[in-house]
């Protein structure tokens, strides 16, 4: 659509946003900066306030207090239909009475783009999502993945300042989800648009984002790059939300260690820290084995490569567990 590396999107700045429904507070003085061109994921379980935040940015709801700036402008008084926002919904929300082409051209019609220009841009958008041959179908004749790609084309064709995506892949099966994750990310990088993506799936957040905002009970628990959240979690909640985590008491204080960083058996002895435990459960996962061992009063979970030795560990066996200082995550 445009040359590469041109930043098309705008920045989003939230300042002390507050929102409650009746007596339930959904968002508590939330502030957040999303740079232009950033793929930002709002991650959290249901009830964390992530969807409400998205609705406020889109303009479907108004905050009780606080300021929302898009590209530096306060949009508090701007109605939804003048915000120039692209939105993709979990249930696609395609107009059932219009063909794929008319769904995509709807936003261009609203902007009174000339028919020639409109047709060119619709074709371009459909080609981008790989659906140029389905332009005359009705939404109900498409699969879920195809429908969601139409929704994406419809949102992108208007060249939105920001693209909001509300659990867009939640209704799709795993394989399709992964394909679309890659496709969305490629398109986003190519167009340089700002994306705010809502999901409860931490893997999806890790795969796609420049920035992850982990939310809990209407507040931000931690925001940062996927690497930061994964490797430098501020607390146990963040550490456990992103992946499984073991917690140990070290002389330096409490610490977390990911199961994949643990070494078992002979490998363990060369590590900086070694403990001993009794194997309680062994689960075969394919490439890895998940070994649960009892260390003192606590369970420790380790992920070890299978390495053609499926019977390396058996229940009841005593085993040494070791890990390196470099893999320790200090947790407050």
């Amino acid at each position: 659509m445009t040359g590469q590396n041109t930043v098309l999107g705008k920045s989003v700045r939230l300042d002390a946003i507050r929102k409650s429904y009746g007596t339930t507070t959904v968002l508590r003085d939330l502030s957040l900066d999303i740079p232009a061109g950033c793929f930002c994921t709002l991650l959290g379980s249901s009830g964390s306030g992530k969807s409400t935040l998205l609705k406020l940015i889109a303009g479907f709801e108004t905050p009780d207090a606080g300021v929302i700036r898009i590209g530096g402008n306060d949009v508090g008084k701007v109605p939804v239909n003048r915000r120039n926002i692209g939105m993709v919904f979990q249930n696609y929300a395609l107009f059932p009475h219009m063909s794929v082409r008319h769904n995509v051209s709807f936003g261009l019609d609203m902007r009174r783009i000339s028919p020639g220009e409109s047709a060119r841009r619709v074709d371009e958008a459909l080609e981008m999502v790989g659906l140029d041959d389905l332009a005359d179908r009705r939404p109900r004749d498409l699969s879920g993945g195809q429908q969601q790609r139409v929704a994406l084309a419809r949102a992108l064709v208007i060249r939105p300042d920001i693209l909001l995506m509300d659990e867009p892949l939640g209704a799709l099966d795993r394989a399709l989800r992964q394909t679309l994750q890659v496709q969305i990310r490629v398109i986003q990088k190519e167009l340089g648009i700002t994306v705010i993506f809502v999901t409860h799936d931490q893997e999806e957040a890790l795969h796609m984002s420049d920035q992850i905002v982990l939310m809990r009970q209407g507040a931000i628990e931690q925001a940062g790059s996927p690497w930061e959240l994964y490797r430098q979690p501020k607390n146990r909640f963040v550490a456990s939300f992103l992946d499984e985590c073991n917690y140990v008491e070290l002389p330096s204080g409490p610490a977390g260690i990911r199961p994949a960083r643990l070494r078992l058996g002979a490998d363990a002895r060369t590590q900086d820290h070694v403990m001993s435990g009794r194997v309680e459960r062994v689960t075969f996962l394919g490439a890895n084995m998940r070994v649960t061992a009892r260390v003192g009063q606590a369970d420790v979970v380790a992920l070890v490569p299978t390495e053609n030795e499926p019977d390396r560990f058996s229940v009841g066996q005593l085993v040494e567990i070791g890990f390196a200082d470099a893999d320790v995550m200090p947790i407050a």
């Binding site: 108004t62 926002i85 249930n91």
Partner: protein
């Protein structure tokens, strides 16, 4: 071990036989409708070819004689106008219902249904009181200097249109309401983010998405309007004579059965054509079906947190006005009935219960009310039993037979009642059934059966067949299962059907005009005879009592339905 397993096996076998056998319960209602619905209608149709001047002579006369030609055109014209008017009036009400909290929407739904279930005669009477030359509306308009001279709103086209739209509108309001509720909130959000304002939303999203609901409702309205008899007869003038009136005229005044038959054929063909078109386009489920939104993440349409737009508020005001229009005639009779003046002046000058006393003083009113109840005592149990059997039987069948029977059991609602009335009259007179209550009672079973059928069918659809299988698997025989599992589950639906059957029987006037004599005449027939001469204030007292009874019955239904929620 073998003994133990033998018992359930025999039970299963018997259950299978009973289950297959259960389809036979559709036989009695089928035979009943064949004898008292299909046969009389067919005989009337055959009569149309019995003219001494040649088998097709009445049909030629319909084409040749201007009065008949005009009546046909008037019927189609009035039907069309009523349909358009109903659509226009239904939109704001359906929108209003869809955007208020569900509890309020249910209450509004009751307001829409009240005129529909209120006796046609009571409604018509009330409209005449409101609209006539020296009626309530003219008094108000002249007193407030909006009009210099009173205008006649009734006994002309406007009277017929008002009266008919008033009662037929619910057929559009409910499908339209469901269509509104079926619109996914995210669609609106999507359109808004793409830049659509309120006008575009309305034109490009709301109208196309509600169009199928409107079309379904409009078809039913048009079809019903074609067969209207009472409203045009009482609220129209000679220029608004519709085909149904001509059928009655030919039977009662001209004794020209061939002509009545020919007119019936024309009307029946038109109604059936529309009905089968409807079935082909929308499917029978749409008739009273509920198109609730389904699927993952679909949020029913509602007013957003940002409140209503200016046009949304305008729709709200319009919706309120239409609701007032719906309720006005039902409400007006209450103050009118306690005025002491014999001239039905508004507002009533002195309060008195004079007309209620008069009502009690005249034995004919009590006698006719008693007649009505006796007829209902035949019609309600009969329709409830046969309608439930019909639904049960159809639910056990598949394919063409099921669809065919389904159509048969709904058909009495589709065929204009005047045709059934005349047909039954022709069939029953030789049997002496017109004296006493059996003739009318049987007739009422025919017209009330579809209500029970639809209601029981809906209940059966909501019944999980696995419950039945579980009960049979636990060793219950089919009758025990029916009594202890199925009947409690579908009971409320059957009860609702029985209530509608009662209202149908209690309000009917067309069948009563033909199938009763002076001694057996029902309350609606007596009101009709009074209203067609002149409207005395006593009528308002009768109207109040009938409305209260209807309201009570409807509330009873709400109560029954609440139990199942």
């Amino acid at each position: 071990m073998s003994r133990e397993s033998a018992v359930p096996r025999r039970g299963r076998l018997r259950a299978a036989v009973m289950r297959r056998g259960a389809a036979w319960v559709a036989l009695p209602p089928t035979l009943f409708l064949a004898a008292l619905f299909a046969l009389p209608v067919l005989r009337l149709l055959i009569l149309s070819f019995s003219d001494p001047a040649g088998p097709f002579s009445p049909y030629w006369r319909i084409v040749d004689i201007p009065a008949y030609r005009t009546a046909l055109l008037t019927t189609v014209g009035i039907g069309g106008l009523v349909t358009v008017l109903s659509v226009l009036l239904a939109y704001p009400v359906a929108y209003l219902m869809a955007t208020v909290p569900p509890r309020v929407a249910r209450l509004l739904g009751l307001c829409v249904l009240l005129p529909f279930w209120t006796s046609a005669l009571v409604r018509t009477t009330a409209w005449i009181i409101l609209l006539q030359r020296y009626g309530v509306l003219n008094t108000l308009l002249v007193d407030s200097h909006l009009l210099r001279h009173p205008v006649s709103f009734v006994y002309n086209l406007s009277g017929v249109l008002i009266g008919m739209s008033h009662v037929l509108m619910p057929f559009i309001v409910f499908p339209l309401y469901n269509a509104f509720r079926g619109i996914d909130q995210n669609l609106i959000h999507a359109a808004e983010t793409l830049g659509a304002g309120p006008t575009t939303l309305c034109r490009r999203v709301f109208l196309p998405l509600t169009a199928p609901g409107v079309a379904a409702g409009a078809t039913i309205v048009f079809m019903s309007a074609l067969g209207y008899y009472i409203t045009p007869a009482l609220m129209g003038g000679p220029a608004q004579t519709m085909v149904a009136q001509l059928i009655s005229f030919n039977v009662e005044e001209q004794l020209d059965w061939a002509m009545a038959g020919a007119l019936s054929v024309v009307m029946l063909l038109a109604s059936l054509l529309i009905f089968f078109l409807f079935q082909a386009v929308f499917g029978l489920d749409r008739l009273f079906g509920d198109a609730a939104p389904s699927g993952r993440g679909v949020v029913p349409f509602a007013v957003g947190a940002r409140g209503r737009s200016a046009s949304g508020r305008a729709m709200l005001v319009l919706g309120g006005a239409v609701l007032l229009f719906l309720l006005a005639p039902v409400l007006i009779v209450f103050p009118m009935s306690v005025g002491s003046s014999p001239f039905l002046s508004f507002p009533p000058q002195h309060l008195s219960l004079r007309w209620y006393h008069e009502l009690l003083a005249r034995p004919q009113w009590l006698a006719s009310a008693w007649n009505s109840l006796q007829v209902a005592a035949i019609a309600v149990p009969g329709a409830t039993l046969l309608g439930t059997m019909a639904a049960l039987g159809v639910s056990r069948l598949r394919g063409g037979l099921a669809r065919g029977l389904e159509v048969l059991f709904i058909l009495p609602m589709i065929v204009p009642p005047i045709i059934l009335a005349v047909g039954l009259y022709y069939q029953m007179v030789p049997l002496g059934l017109i004296r006493g209550h059996w003739g009318l009672g049987l007739g009422h079973i025919v017209i009330a059966l579809p209500f029970v059928f639809l209601s029981a069918q809906a209940a059966l659809r909501g019944f999980d067949r696995n419950l039945e299988r579980a009960a049979l698997g636990l060793g219950a025989s089919w009758p025990t299962m029916f009594r202890r599992v199925m009947l409690p589950a579908i009971g409320p639906g059957v009860a609702a059907g029985a209530i509608f059957a009662f209202i149908t029987s209690f309000d009917d006037v067309i069948l009563a005009l033909f199938l009763t004599d002076v001694r057996g005449r029902t309350l609606p027939r007596l009101i009709y005879e009074n209203v067609s001469e002149e409207i005395s204030p006593t009528i308002t007292a009768v109207a109040v009592l009938v409305i209260l009874l209807t309201l009570l019955t409807l509330l009873l239904n709400v109560f029954f339905q609440k139990d199942t929620r």
